[in-house]
Amino acid sequence: MTDQQSLSLRRDSLSPPLPSPGSFLEEVMDATPGDSRLQMCIQCGTCGGSCPSAADMDNTPRQIFAMIRADMREAVLRSNTPWYCVSCYYCTVRCPQEVHITDVMYTLKSMAIRDKLYDDSTAPDFSQTFIGYIENFGRSFEFGLATRHNLRHRPFQLPSMVPMGLGMLTKGRMDLTPQRIDRVEQLQAILSRAIELEVTG
């Protein structure tokens, strides 16, 4: 038997530790699609070392995972860490334990929005404004998104954004009116049912 085989056999024969019932770890794992493998984290820090925005995060991803296991629910959901994740998946492909880190970050964002725990509303509002256009039209709407989001969250930076906005319009790269899919009611029915199921399970 080669070392490789014995290693993989050993890994399979060990049943992964299960999160304790009712723990925050269990809640996060259950809310993440597929098998997140979050309980397998060995605190090596490869994730934070691979993260392009780790320097601007309140906690590195490694710290966040330790905090999840320590049941520090509120501190985790108040952290800016998930919101500063740029979805580059470097941590995910480098994690020696194959934890689905980016997906866990998405789960934490949705929990923070639901529980209204994250103080800076810029990022959650951006997500919610974005999805609002999808729910109303079936397509994203950049002009509406850009103007609404910038007016609300960074009005003082708006003048410096004007040349870019005008450039987008004159170069034909932005529409003033949204595109709408034909069967938007069908999409809305699907999304409403899905949101109901998220609550009832």
């Binding site: 699609p33 500063y84 170069k171």
Partner: protein, 335 residues
């Protein structure tokens, strides 16, 4: 003719129109035919899943279900946008692995009288199709204007190479598919170490200084390697690196001018197509000086700016800094 189902995505309709136009212009050269998925909706980008995890999969599930209805001779769904590609591929992959999730998504889809059988379509990115189905040799065969002397930084961004749960790419951090393709067009390819680093993603909307730093790293890297152009395959990467490059320069007091163009535009130029049909001129950082040096003449980006541009030698024009967007009548105001 190879036929594919096509998911264009919201960006290709507008801000990345140049990507769509250039793809449509080259499709016959590469022997491909694309059938658009009827009444597709937004993939949710990186935002829907941050709010509702199940509904995010149902949102993508509707597109997959519509694609399944159109399966006829081909079951491959092509997406040219990296975020669309990843969302479609990831949902399909999770639905295949997680029976409970698949059942919940189908319960939601039933509210719209739709159903999706996990795995019934195969989601692939445009680059994958061009490199692996069409083939590098077939592309090379169509080149009539080799891009000799053009130094190109091949930039993949994140979401095409990672997480790659279906093992489509040679390497998740240093893929070479685009490098090989650009080389076949006759250009000089830079071994770009930041080829899969982040363009800033949604940070341009959330925290500008963080976004500017991520943009700076890539643009600085390309400039250090003396790249004439940086070639991309994702609308978000193009938008962040191109439209925000001027603001990034102002923030760091730098003056980088690295044009960001789509790989399909570069292919079209090598195939001898007119720049205008390839959507060139819609970029913020002017690609004309770089392309002019290898003998590709492009029309002025803005018709009203043409007489001014024509009087000045190309080099001098570059020293003036970034061309500012112009509104009709702005020349009078300037004078």
């Amino acid at each position: 003719m190879r036929k594919y189902l096509f998911y264009p995505g919201c960006s290709l309709q507008r801000n990345a129109r140049a990507y769509l136009d250039s793809l449509m212009a080259i499709r016959e050269f590469i022997g491909t035919e694309f059938e658009e998925i009827q009444d597709w909706n937004c993939c949710g980008a990186t935002e829907y899943v941050a709010v509702h995890h199940l509904a995010a999969h149902a949102l993508v599930g509707r597109n997959l279900a519509l694609a399944e209805q159109q399966v006829n001779g081909t079951r491959t769904v092509m997406a040219a946008c990296s975020a669309c590609y990843l969302n479609l591929a990831k949902t399909d992959s999770y639905l295949r692995q997680d029976a409970h999730l698949a059942q919940q998504v189908n319960t939601a889809l039933a509210a719209g009288e739709l159903h999706y059988t996990p795995g019934s379509v195969r989601v692939r990115h445009l680059l994958d199709i061009i490199v692996n189905d069409v083939g590098i040799d077939a592309v090379k065969h169509k080149v009539v204007h080799p891009l000799k002397g053009l130094r190109v930084a091949p930039y993949y961004g994140c979401m095409i190479a990672r997480p790659d749960r279906d093992n489509r790419w040679d390497n998740v951090e240093h893929p070479v598919a685009l490098d090989r393709l650009v080389k076949a067009l006759g250009a000089e390819v830079i071994d770009f170490p930041m080829k899969t680093h982040c363009c800033g993603g949604h940070m341009t909307q959330i925290n500008l200084p963080v976004a500017y730093e991520l943009i700076r790293r890539l643009i600085h890297g390309a400039a250090e390697y003396r790249a004439d152009v940086l070639v991309t395959l994702c609308p978000m990467c193009q938008l962040n690196l191109d439209a925000y490059q001027g603001e990034m320069n102002r923030y760091f007091h730098t003056n980088y001018q690295v044009p960001i163009i789509y790989f399909t535009q570069l292919m079209g130029l090598a195939f001898g197509l007119e720049a205008e049909t390839l959507g060139l001129g819609k970029e913020f950082v002017d690609a004309r000086p770089a392309l002019g040096r290898i003998g590709i003449e492009l029309p002025a980006a803005e018709p009203e700016a043409e007489p001014v541009a024509a009087q000045q030698p190309r080099r001098k024009q570059k020293e003036q800094g970034l061309p500012m967007p112009r509104m009709p009548g702005s020349e009078e105001a300037d004078a």
